[in-house]
Amino acid sequence: MFQSHFIHMLVFTGLVSVFFAFLTRNDRRGRLKVGIYLALIMITASLLIAYTLYPFPK
């Protein structure tokens, strides 16, 4: 399917963010805010963890 790990992460983040935005908020503005926050937090955290683990390949 997707060859890139990064694309996999983006798709997964998108789906989870949309899901939680609609699950936790009822207004459009709130959903947008939660969705963007969640997506940014997940992407940032993943990249940070990935680069922290970079010197330890196995």
Partner: protein, 152 residues
């Protein structure tokens, strides 16, 4: 303070939870939340389909590690009939238990499982499949909250 739930509320919550398990999002439609129903239907189905296409693993109960394997299998099962259809396609039957060690060597089920695990995207697929199940579990709790009036 614990309040007793009326029969109507109990029935409504039970029906909505069963509907959600059967088809993700339909429980919300039953409760009149059309917008949310459409989004949840698309998101959960898309997550499941991506997991299936990426050769995600449908977990089987393994008696050698019962705790984890029961949890993993239950999470898969939370996706409802989608999980059953996936298992029938992959294993040839709705299998939920790993065969014993002797049978496992020649088992079709084990061969199919190994083939999928060898695939490049299998780890991602497995994450997608488990996420679809967990999402549907949360949706069942959400429709319960909505139906008893705890949430809008």
């Amino acid at each position: 303070m614990i309040e007793r739930m009326s029969w109507t509320k109990f029935k409504r919550s039970l029906i909505s939870m069963i509907l959600t398990w059967l088809i993700p999002g339909i429980g919300h439609l039953y409760l009149g939340k059309k917008g949310r129903a459409v989004v949840f239907f698309i998101v959960v189905h898309l997550t499941f389909i991506l997991g299936f296409v990426a050769d995600g693993r449908f977990f089987l109960v393994d008696q050698r590690q019962p705790f984890m394997s029961y949890l993993q299998t239950a999470t898969n099962m939370a996706a409802g009939p989608l999980d059953i259809v996936g298992r029938v396609y992959v294993y040839g039957s709705p299998a939920y238990f790993l065969p014993g060690e002797e049978e496992a060597r020649s088992s079709f089920l084990m061969t199919r499982m190994r083939e999928r695990m060898k695939s490049q995207g299998s780890a991602y697929g497995t994450a997608y499949l488990l996420t679809a199940g967990l999402m549907n579990l949360l949706l069942m709790l959400d429709v319960f909250d909505i139906s008893i009036g705890r949430k809008e």
